[in-house]
């Protein structure tokens, strides 16, 4: 288990409500990618199905699903936006 890293996942809107929190700390294997985090989320969130149009931010900047994670990273799951 020494190879695990700890990352924080930020959730908003429907995903936040499904998780019951806007911030989850997860232990995942080292070098897990941003896009692979979905499979580590609680069942109540995954029940939603991977949302169409989901984008990702890594440490507050846009990133792509293939980006590898490091210990202490923060990933945001960004649903299709509707501000304005």
């Amino acid at each position: 288990m020494g190879a695990d890293i700890r990352v924080t996942v930020r959730l908003f809107a429907s995903l936040r409500e499904a998780a019951g929190t806007g911030r989850l700390d997860l232990n995942v294997p080292a070098a897990t990618t941003v896009g692979a985090l979905w499979s580590h989320l609680p069942e109540g969130v995954r029940d939603h199905g991977l949302p169409e149009g989901l984008r990702y931010a890594l440490n507050h900047e846009w990133t792509l699903p293939g980006a590898p994670l490091r210990d202490g990273d923060e990933v945001a799951l960004v649903l299709p936006v509707s501000g304005g």
């Binding site: 409500e17 939603h48 900047e61 960004v78 936006v81 509707s82 501000g83 304005g84």
Partner: protein
């Protein structure tokens, strides 16, 4: 002035923020909560933002408009509940002449709507709520309403 606000928008302060003696045109846009969405009565919209990225995205959009149109830009967006008739978003842009002021203002609101990580939830008069975020919600009759947001 670029901000996410929990209190009503001060439109006058927004205009003052872009005032410039070299600028003869000042355009503003306000997005307001409309009282109906998909033929269903609405009492309010609730906004949630991913604050860090929303602010950096708004800053980037404003800088792009300023560079492209020689404008000065201010943009603010509400968080939390915004009642019918209240503004959820406001943009002010000044430039030497009106075409650039209008163009900069429009650029900012159009880009904000596709790029800023901010979401709205419709609060219906019957007490139901619907997130406008591309997810099927707990309100199946009106789930997934992207593109039919109740204003602007």
């Amino acid at each position: 002035m670029i901000a996410l606000l929990d209190t009503p928008i001060d439109h006058t302060a927004l205009m003052a923020a872009v005032a410039d003696p070299e600028h003869g045109g000042l355009a503003t846009f306000l997005g307001l909560t409309r009282r109906e969405s998909d033929e269903r009565a609405v009492t309010a919209l609730r906004y949630e933002a991913y604050d860090e990225l929303a602010l950096s995205e708004l800053t980037a959009i404003a800088s792009e408009a300023e560079a492209a149109y020689g404008a000065r830009v201010a943009v603010v967006h509400r968080r939390g509940e915004v009642a019918v008739g209240e503004a959820s978003v406001a943009v002010a842009a000044s430039a030497r002449h009106r075409p650039a002021a209008f163009a900069a203002c429009r650029y900012v609101i159009d880009e904000l709507k596709v790029r800023a990580p901010i979401w709205k939830q419709t609060v219906h008069a019957d007490g139901g709520t619907t997130w406008i975020d591309g997810c099927a919600s707990g309100d199946p009759a009106h789930a997934h309403a992207h593109g039919s947001a109740p204003h602007a």
